[in-house]
């Protein structure tokens, strides 16, 4: 599926990144305030590649948390619009994990298609995904049960795998033709190809699959009114951590922020976990309690999105498992819904 592979020796990586920085924006994992986050770097020395995963997913690079759609000024019967100019430079997402790269594929489907979002499309077209495979997955990772894998190149323009003193690089698209001309890239040798296969197999084998129902989409559909949800959602705080840190969650709100006749229309992240999300003007809310909202998240990810976008709405990154303040574990939820047993 993926065309000819390359090698990049580790001592050449820094040079490659520096050349990238010359005419592109580069986002890479850095340590900031005690956390590992994906940030735009000025210096290659800030980049860290020995890490589990960034606190937040990379979706903000193509779907920012606050985005101005246009500015306006009404004056003497005329309306003047400020329309954002596009990105000047390409942006490279370097060192992100395979789960996050796959997450972008789901966002591509949601923001693409017939009702394509031009703001998303413009940024996405200028985004290069250079991901880094996982050779030591966190026990909370379950990408392999969500159609992905720790060494899956899916969604990446270039996929890097650590072979020790060098990286194996798989080419996933032709967006990187210009990049591949960089002196850091050499043709891959047989030994490297074999080693990368070995690492891939061993890493995948080290992860225990979740015991999920084979026909999850239909199975969940039948469970919509099941009382199981009451116990599952009981400890949920109803905050937005799971949705905001999730690489595939994409709900948003549109707001006008204005003073008099001058203002801007912005798009901001919203969360189905917030009570106002489905609040209607009449005061009625079809999802009045945490239970309905929690159920919505699960159904959307594992039943509705597979129906409408032919893809699961979860890539198994495990952020919601780690960050949930009450340790509501989506893996436990899915497993118990699959087998029909729920803790009392």
């Amino acid at each position: 599926m993926f065309s000819s592979a390359r090698i990049v020796r580790k001592d050449r990586l820094e040079g490659f990144l520096e050349r990238l920085l010359e005419d592109r924006e580069v986002f890479a994992p850095v340590r900031k305030g005690g956390l590992v986050t994906l940030e735009m770097i000025d210096s290659v020395r800030d980049v860290i590649l020995e890490y589990e995963n960034t606190k937040e997913s990379p979706k903000a690079a193509v779907f920012p948390q606050r985005e101005t759609l246009f500015g306006y000024q009404a004056e003497k019967g005329k309306v003047a619009l400020d329309v954002p100019r596009g990105k000047e430079k390409e942006q490279v997402l370097f060192g992100i994990r395979p789960c996050d790269a796959r997450g972008l594929l789901l966002l591509d489907r949601v923001f693409g298609g017939d009702c394509g979002d031009p703001y998303y499309a413009e940024k996405r077209a200028k985004t290069l995904v250079l991901s880094l495979g996982c050779v030591n997955p966190n026990p909370t990772c379950f990408c392999h049960s969500m159609g992905g894998g720790p060494c899956s190149p899916e969604g990446s323009d270039l996929f890097f795998l650590d072979l020790g003193d060098r990286y194996m690089v798989e080419v996933g698209s032709d967006k990187c033709e210009a990049l591949l001309e960089d002196e850091a890239f050499e043709d891959a040798d047989e030994k490297s190809l074999a080693l990368s296969e070995k690492i891939r197999k061993e890493t995948e084998a080290s992860m225990t699959p979740l015991a999920l129902n084979e026909n999850l989409k239909e199975h969940l559909g039948r469970l919509f009114d099941d009382p199981a949800w009451n116990a599952l959602a009981e400890t949920c705080l109803g905050c937005g951590i799971c949705t905001y840190l999730c690489p595939t969650c994409h709900c948003f709100d549109l707001c006008d922020e204005a003073e008099g006749g001058t203002g801007e229309r912005i798009r901001v992240w919203d969360s189905c976990q917030f009570p106002l999300f489905t609040q209607q003007a009449s005061g009625f809310n079809p999802r009045p309690t945490v239970k309905e909202r929690f159920r919505q998240r699960i159904m959307h990810k594992f039943s509705y999105l597979p129906e409408t976008q032919a893809m699961l709405g979860c890539v198994g990154c495990g952020r919601c498992v780690i960050e949930c303040p009450v340790n509501l574990d989506i893996r436990e939820v899915m497993t118990s819904l699959s087998e029909g047993t729920v803790p009392a």
């Binding site: 000024q73 019967g77 400020d82 801007e264």
Partner: protein, 176 residues
């Protein structure tokens, strides 16, 4: 709105109807001269003032906020100003702790007969705000528009012509 010339402080004052507002009115009817920088908003009682009034004012770029009520013991609603006193002791300290300059948010007691005092309060506060300079810390990033295009180079201005839509005026009985 473009401002020409030197900056003048913009102060919003929330005055309780029964005492401070009447005191301000007395200053006016007595033709007292005091700094013109204050915009008065009448509230029934200093206890009605929600901390949000103060924060929203600062967010919109107001340089100073004054809340003035009846002297303790003289509240028209008996205890409203006592509540206000507790609330604002905490709020003022919190805002100053956060780094909002001391003197931007102030509180006073002015009774209905204290026109002179009111004028002094305004004079003093205006002078203090003038020294502090324009308020910047809580100001929300101003909305973008053609006049602010220079602020953000990523924006291009596009002017559209829309036929003027005259708003109905209540005086002509709503003809549009």
């Amino acid at each position: 709105m473009a401002e020409s010339g030197t900056w003048e402080p913009k102060i919003v004052a929330f005055l309780c109807n029964w005492c401070s507002y009447a005191g301000a009115d007395l200053a006016g009817t007595s033709r007292m001269q005091y700094a013109p920088n204050v915009r008065i908003i009448r509230v029934p009682c200093s206890g009605r003032v929600d901390p949000f009034f103060i924060l929203s004012s600062l967010q919109k770029g107001v340089d100073g906020v004054l809340v003035s009520g009846c002297h303790p013991g003289e509240c028209h609603y008996l205890t409203g100003n006592y509540s206000a006193r507790r609330k604002f002791a905490l709020l003022k300290n919190l805002l100053e702790f956060a780094g909002i300059e001391e003197g931007r948010v102030q509180f006073s007691w002015v009774s209905a007969s204290e026109g002179v005092r009111f004028a002094k309060v305004i004079e003093k506060m205006t002078a203090q705000i003038r020294d502090l300079g324009p308020s910047k810390k809580l100001v929300k990033t101003p909305p973008r528009g053609p006049l602010h295009a220079a602020v953000n180079k990523r924006f291009e201005s596009v002017l559209t012509d829309r036929p003027p839509h005259p708003a109905p005026s209540p005086r002509d009985g709503g003809e549009g």
